[in-house]
Amino acid sequence: MSEIVIYTIVTVSAIGILAAIILYFAAKKFHVVEDPRIDDIEEALPSANCGGCGYPGCRNFAEACVKAENLADLFCPVGGNDVMKDVAGILGQEAIEKAAQVAVIRCSGSFEYRPRTNNYDGAVNCTVAANLYSGDTGCQYGCLGLGECVDACTFDAMYMDEKTGLPVVIQDQCTACGDCVRACPKDIIELRNQGKKDRRIFVSCINEDKGGVAKKNCSVACIGCTKCEKVCNYDAIKIENFLAYIDFTKCVLCRKCIAVCPTDAIHETNFPLRRIKSPVEKKTVVKEKAVVTDNPDLVNIAKKKQESNDNEAESKDKE
């Protein structure tokens, strides 16, 4: 063994030992006590950072989980029961099952059912439009159709149907994080229980006008006729301010109310297709009659929307 080999071994080993000593004391000195379970929980979470749980990010939620006495008030809507079971397992607690939810659009006032009364020409943004006036139809509760909910969706679970001018939820992708609910200035979107076999019944309208006014402005509006309330045997339907609301915790999906609704305002989604069935599909005959796509204003809005989307994407890219 030549000198240089020995020399190498001595110096390198010495450096190694020195480093170990320094590291040991450094580790001791700067030791931070952090509950390792926070990391474990964070790993279990979907890390979408969507804010659906009410906390700014997944890590904050994980911290809250560790701190909380029980998990009753904490729920990750994206991960659902499976993730919460994992989280509960890490914390050694009992998981509390919650029914899976999905967003539904409570407005069916597509172009054919809800005549326009004016043209909107401002910024393509629902909140801007909502601050300005009641919308481009006679119904001041209905969807403005500018797609802020679609922009807000983190999971690409929504799109604007250009034929109806209404947003559509892709149920498979919806995680019920609630971003769209918060984004909608008209409070049209609701999170409802997914229901057995994805079957749901809900009133697709939030119009609180009197029956006649509502009907005049939109042919599929709830007119508050109370027929459904009367026919419901389970006390699930309540009418307030000329508007019916079906409590999904009480509804047993008997579909009696659908049959009696004179304006088709109550929607059922119960096909194995697992899609929200829009009234357009239900009445194919009407659909053929409606000529809406060549309305120049619609095309304009769609175009503007596209442009502003592009701009947004660019500005995001820049950052």
Partner: protein, 443 residues
Amino acid sequence: MLKTFSRGGVHPPENKLSAVQTIEQLALPKMVTIPISQHIGAPSTPIVKKNDLVKVGQIIAKSSGFVSANIHSSVSGKVIKIDSVMDSSGYKKQSIIIQVDGDEWEESINRDPQLIKEINLSSEEIIKKVGDAGIVGLGGATFPSQVKLSVPKGMTAEILIINGVECEPYLTADHRLMLEKGDELMVGTKILMKALNVSKAVIGIENNKRDAIEHLTSLSSNYEGITIQALKVQYPQGGEKQLIKAVINREVPSGGLPIAVGAVVHNVGTAYAVYEAIQKNKPLFERIVTVTGKSVKNPANYLARVGTSLTELIEASGGLPEDTGKVISGGPMMGKALNTIDIPMTKGTSGVLIIPVGESRRGVVQDCIRCAKCVSVCPMGLEPYLLMTVSEQQNYERTESERAMDCIECGSCSYTCPSNRPLLDYIRLGKAEVGAIIRSRKA
């Protein structure tokens, strides 16, 4: 060099089509719809019921707070219902609907056109009476006037500025008022001076109203303490802060009121209403409205009763033109676009502007080319492009720190933008959100 404010501003085409039309009394309508919220602040409380009979000038809704105003019937007749009716906001609001029956005025109102110059009331009495008469700022902001006249403790008013700028294109209501009711305006100004206890008043008028300037200047020799100041034509000189800067070269601090620099600003229309309320006992129930537009048959200035449907005003000017694209309540820069003309005029309706189809649409929105024109025209020294971006990104913290709340919504930025960007739309959105944040912070 004529005086003007120091920063920013634009000069849109003036289009004062109705400047030579004398004020016409509009025929009584068959029915009026009087919204109970015609001013900034709390809506008034109706004090009449269905089927009540009311006279012209009778109080029908009472002020419901410090910042609120009384509302008087503008016609005589029967209340047929109190219902929610679409108003210029585009939303349905509570309104009192009165079927007109004759034209019977309250006896206390002096209908004699004779000018009364002597002011017999004390300062407090004037302020109270202004409040009772339901007078609000008639320039368009509709801020209750008695609030402005009540100088807060610890501050003193030094100067009264009467706003005769009318910087909005098209509108001529104030212009005609200054020409035709000059003396009444002067007396109204004196009354306001007395109420505020100031010895100096300046009437600021833009230089495109030479006749009004000359007329009032010749009158001013009869009224001590009132001077007329001609101003360079520059929008938005009618904004309170800009007008104060232009006339007395003082800057109202950010977030502060004009009284912080010792100034109180009232519109010429308000001064005239004050004259009528104090000297003639006549509450505010009618005002001058300009009906104008490039394709309108007879652009005109009407003296019309509050609650008259805009349809009737437009009919009087020759009806809605064929090529109507947009109907605006107010001027083209700050007015509100209407989604129907079947709405009532209110105390704040200074004009009805009909814009033909060709000029009614905005251009296609393009990317910002960072030309900085919005920054250079902003009269408040803000950066509109930035405010738009941050409120679009919902970064409201930044929106606030970039002082969105200073924005006076004059629209100069959107007007000047070569890329047709909806700057003000988003700034307004940001302001609304920031306002909500500030309120929740205080609560």
